[in-house]
C-alpha cells in the first residue's frame, strides 16, 4: 500500500510557555513596528471588538508586513472630525484667515491698556482669527465692539468669555512671539478639539462593517491619523501575521 501523506491541516505550536502562568498580554516575543500612512490605506476590516475597537488586518506586500491591528473607534473618529473642522474653519485652503460670521447682537468687550494698544496697532492679528471690530475704537474707556466672530464659535452663554480669552491670548502672542505665529490660536483649537470629541463615535456604539470601513478610509486621509485630538494613539498593531504564517509552515 502506498503511503500517501497529506498534510493540509496546519498545526501551529508556539513555544511552550510556563503553563501555570496566567496568559497575559505583552508576553512572548515582540518586534518594533512603526505604522505608516500608507498602511492605513490598505486596512481591511475584520470586525468590531467589544463595541470599542475595530479589528482590521493588512496584507503583506513587498514593503509592509501582514499584521492585525486595533483601531480605537472613538479616537479615530475624533481625529477625522477635528481635521475636517479645522479645514472648515478657514476661508480658503491656504489656511490664513478664519471664516467669520456677523453677530446679530454685537458684543462689547472691556479691554486692558495693552489689549487696546494691540487692537489699534495690529488689527491684522485679530482679522486673521476672524474677529471684526466696529471701527470707532474707544481708546478712552478701552471699550471695543465686536460685530463678527470666527464662524467656528457658537453663540452660547460663554461667548463673551471666549472672545475675551481670544483677545488676551492673541495679545500675549503678539508680545511674546512678536506676532510671527501663524498657527491657529490655542483657544480656538481647544474648542475644536472638544467639539470633535463630543460628537464622535463613543465606546459602546455598535458599528456595521460598512461604517467601520468608512471610518478607516476617512482616517487614512488625515494629516495626523495616529493620534486623537488629545494626542492619544488611535491605531495599535496587535500581531505579526507573517511570523504566524512562517511558524506554521515550518512546523508542517
Amino acid at each position: 500500500m502506498p503511503s500517501v501523506r497529506v498534510d493540509n491541516v496546519t498545526v501551529f505550536r508556539p513555544q511552550q510557555q510556563n503553563t501555570t502562568a496566567h496568559p497575559t498580554f505583552f508576553q512572548g516575543i515582540y518586534t518594533e513596528v512603526k505604522l505608516t500612512k500608507e498602511v492605513l490605506t490598505k486596512l481591511k476590516v475584520i470586525g468590531q471588538f467589544g463595541n470599542k475597537f475595530i479589528a482590521c488586518s493588512v496584507g503583506c506586500t513587498t514593503d509592509s508586513r501582514g499584521m492585525l491591528l486595533l483601531v480605537d473607534q472613538h479616537a479615530a473618529h475624533e481625529r477625522v472630525r477635528l481635521e475636517s473642522f479645522i479645514s472648515d474653519a478657514y476661508e480658503s485652503s491656504k489656511r490664513i484667515n478664519l471664516k467669520t460670521s456677523k453677530l446679530e447682537s454685537k458684543v462689547e468687550i472691556n479691554l486692558t491698556k495693552t489689549q487696546t494698544a494691540a487692537v489699534r496697532n495690529h488689527p491684522e492679528v485679530f482679522y486673521t482669527c476672524g474677529l471684526r471690530f466696529d471701527s470707532d475704537l474707544n481708546t478712552e474707556d478701552d471699550l471695543v465692539t465686536v460685530n463678527s466672530i470666527p464662524s467656528l464659535l457658537t453663540t452660547s452663554g460663554t461667548l463673551k468669555e471666549t472672545i475675551e480669552n481670544l483677545i488676551e491670548e492673541r495679545t500675549q502672542a503678539l508680545y511674546v512671539n512678536r506676532g510671527v505665529s501663524d498657527s491657529m490660536s490655542p483657544v480656538l483649537f481647544q474648542l475644536l478639539c472638544s467639539k470633535a470629541c463630543h460628537g464622535a463615535i463613543r465606546f459602546g456604539d455598535p458599528l456595521a462593517l460598512e461604517q467601520c470601513t468608512e471610518l478607516l478610509t476617512a482616517l487614512s486621509k488625515c494629516d495626523f491619523p495616529f493620534q486623537c485630538a488629545h494626542g492619544r494613539p488611535s491605531v495599535m498593531p496587535l500581531l505579526d501575521l507573517n511570523t504566524l504564517k512562517t511558524k506554521k509552515k515550518r512546523l508542517n
Partner: protein, 751 residues
Amino acid sequence: MAESGVVVIKRLDETVVNRIAAGEVIQRPANAVKEMIENCLDAGSTTITVSLKSGGLKMLQISDNGHGIRREDMEIVCERFTTSKLKEFDDLKTIATFGFRGEALASISHVAHLSITSRTKDSKCGYKASYLDGRIKGSPRPTAGNTGTQITVEDLFYNVPTRRKAFKSPSEEHQKIADVMTRYALHNSGKSFTLRKTDGDSGPSGGVSVRTQLGSSFVTNIGTLFGSKVAKEVIEVKHYDTQLQLKTFGYISNANCSMKKFVFLLFINNRLVDCSVLKKSLDSVYQSYLPKGSHPFVYLSLEMPTNNLDVNVHPTKHEVHFLHEDEVVTSVQKQVEASLLSCDSSRTFYMQKLLPTNTSKPTGENTKESTKDTTHPTKDKQLPTRVYDHQLVRTDSKLQKLDSFLLKSKNKVVEEPKIVVKPCANSLINVVNAIYFSSACLYEHIAAEYHSCFKSWACHTTHPQYLLHQFFFRPSTPDDIESHDKTSAGLPRKREIRLTSVLQLQDEVKQKSNKDLCLVLHDHTFVGCVEPELALIQHQTKLHLVNTGRLSEQLFYQILLQDFGNFAIFRLTEAAPIYELAMLGLNSEESGWTPADGSKEKLAKYVVNFLVEKAEMLSDYFCLDITKDGMISGIPMLLKQYNPPLHGLPTFVMRLATEVDWESEKSCFDTVCKEIARFYAVKNNFTDSDIFSEEPVVVETDSEWSPWKQMVEHVVFRALRDVIVPMTMGEDGTFLQLANLPDLYKVFERC
C-alpha cells in the same frame, strides 16, 4: 563727609574690580564648566572629561586632548584680557571661536584655586602651574602628562562667602553641570564627553552621569542622553534659507512623542544660547499637534553669517542678538512645521510576534467567576462591586445579528453579479462557490449560468479542477428524505445507536474537554474573520484569535459521533467517479507520490475497488454513498447550510482508502470520522480571496459580504458554541489570547 551728605568717589582697588567681574562671568560652577568646555573645543579636543567633587564647589577638573598650552604662555594664560583668539576689535565681527574675551580663566583664578597641567604635541614633557588672582604662582614645573590640558579648580568662591553660602546643595550644582555637558555632548556628537562624580557616594554607575562615545551619531547620542523613547521619534531638519543665508540643522521630536518639559537645545554658530522668542514660537507650533500640557524635544543648530550676530551682549555669552530676528524665527518655525507634517509614521509600537497560548489547566479564578455569574446571580447583588469602564463588556454573546436570519436572501443579492464575471479560471471557482451557497430555488438558474461559464472557461485552461463540474450538489429536497426513512408521522425517524465503540468514542470526547475553552466558545461574541482559517472572537474582556480550521474539524468530528448513522444527505447531480478523483489526488503535490509507490493508474484502481468493498458500511453509518461501479453519489449533510469545500474531495478519497484503520471497529469509526471531518473542515483555499491578496481591499465593499464569511460566522461559529474543546487545544495554538481590555485601555491611554 557724612555731614555734608556728599559722598566721595573713590577708585576701586584692582582686585575688587577683578573679583566683581569674575562674579559676573562665573556665577556658578556650571558657568566655569561651560567656559572651559568651550576652551577645550577651541583647542580641537575630541575627548573631554569632567570630574566633580560636591557639585564642583570643592573640586572641578576638566581634561582634554587638545593642542595644549605652550610653556611660554603658561605665565600669562590666567591674566585678564589675554587670549589667543582675538587680536583686533574688528575680529569680533567674524569671530568663530567660542572664547574671545580672554576672561574665563582669569575670572576663575580670582575666585578659586586654579592649577593647569598642559603639554603640547611638540613638547617633551608637560608643565604644571598654579595661579592666584590672575597671576602665576612661581614658575611652571615640568611634569608627566598626555598631550592636552588638564585644569583643576578647587574651592570655588573661597573668597566670596556670600556667593558660596547661596549654593544650597551640591547635587543641584551637579545637575546644572550635567545639563550643560549634555547639551554640548549632543551638539558635538562624534566627540567623547564624560562627566564623572568622584565623591564617595558614586552609586552603581561609578558616578558617571553623562557619557558619549567617540564617533557616535546624533541619534545615538539623543538616545543615551535623553532616552531611547525620544531617539525613536526624532526627525531630522535640514534647510538652507538663501535669502537669510541661514543654515538650519537639527533633530526635533515628531507628533508622537511628548515630554513633560520643553527640552530646547539651541546653538547659534555652535554657541549654546537661549532665545525665548524662538522657544515660544516653536512651542506654539507643537501646541496643535501634542496633547495638552506636553512639550516637544527640539535640538536646533543655526548657522548665520557671523556679521549678523552680536555675541558680545553678556559676559557669559549666554544671550546673543542677531539681525532679522523675526524673519529667522518665522523661517525656522515654518521649517519645523513642514517637517512635522511630512512625517507619516506613527509612534513605535511593540507588536507581538509570538503569543502565549491559553493555559490548558483550568484557571481557578476564571471558572469561579463564571459559575458565580450563572448560578448565584442573586448572591452577587448583595456585594455590589463596581465595574470599571475598562472591565465593562459591552457586547452580549446571546445577541444575534439581523443578517444571520437573512443568510439566504443576502447571498442571492451577492451571488447574482458574481455569476456574470468574465470567463476565466477564477470565475469557475466563483461560480462553484456561488452554487455552494445558493438556495434551492436559485439552483437551476445558477446551474445554467454555470454551464455557459464553464464551457468558455474550459477552452482556456486544462486545469485539473475541471472535474468539479461533474458533481455540484443538489441539496436534499424533502422528497429525498421522505423516500428514505419515514415514520408514520411523516418525520424522519432517528435511529438509536447502541454500538459500544461509538458510545466509548463519545465518552472520550466528553472526558477530554477543556472547560475553560468550552466556556470561551459557548459565550463568545464573533468579531470577524481574518481569513477562512483564522477568526477573532471576544469572550468577556478578552480577544482571542482562533483557528477556525481546527475547531471546525473538531466540530464535524463530534457531529459525526453524535449523529452517527442519522445524517441527511447531499446528493450529487452527477456521481463522481472515484477513479478520476484518486488520479487527481495522486497528481496533487500534497499526496507525496513517488514512482516507488507504483503506477498511479494501478493505485487509483486499487482505491476504487477498496472503497466499493466498504460501500455498504460507509453508506449505512456515514451516509457516504458509493455506487457499485465506483462512483460517489452522495455525501452526508453534517451541518445545515454548511457546504464542505469540494476541492478537498480527491484528497479525501485517497486518505479514506489509505489512512483509515479498517481492522478494529472502534478505531475504524474513529479514523473515518476524522477523515470526513478533515474533508469538511473550513480551509484557507475556501475561496480565492485570501487576505494576502495584493490589492487594496478597503474600497472593495462587497468583499465584506463574501459568502464564506457569512457561512463561517453564522453557520460554523453558531454551531461551535456547543462544541467540546479537547484538552490539547489549550496548548497547540488553536486559541491565542491577543488582547485584554484593561491592557488595551493602557495602550490607548484611556482611563
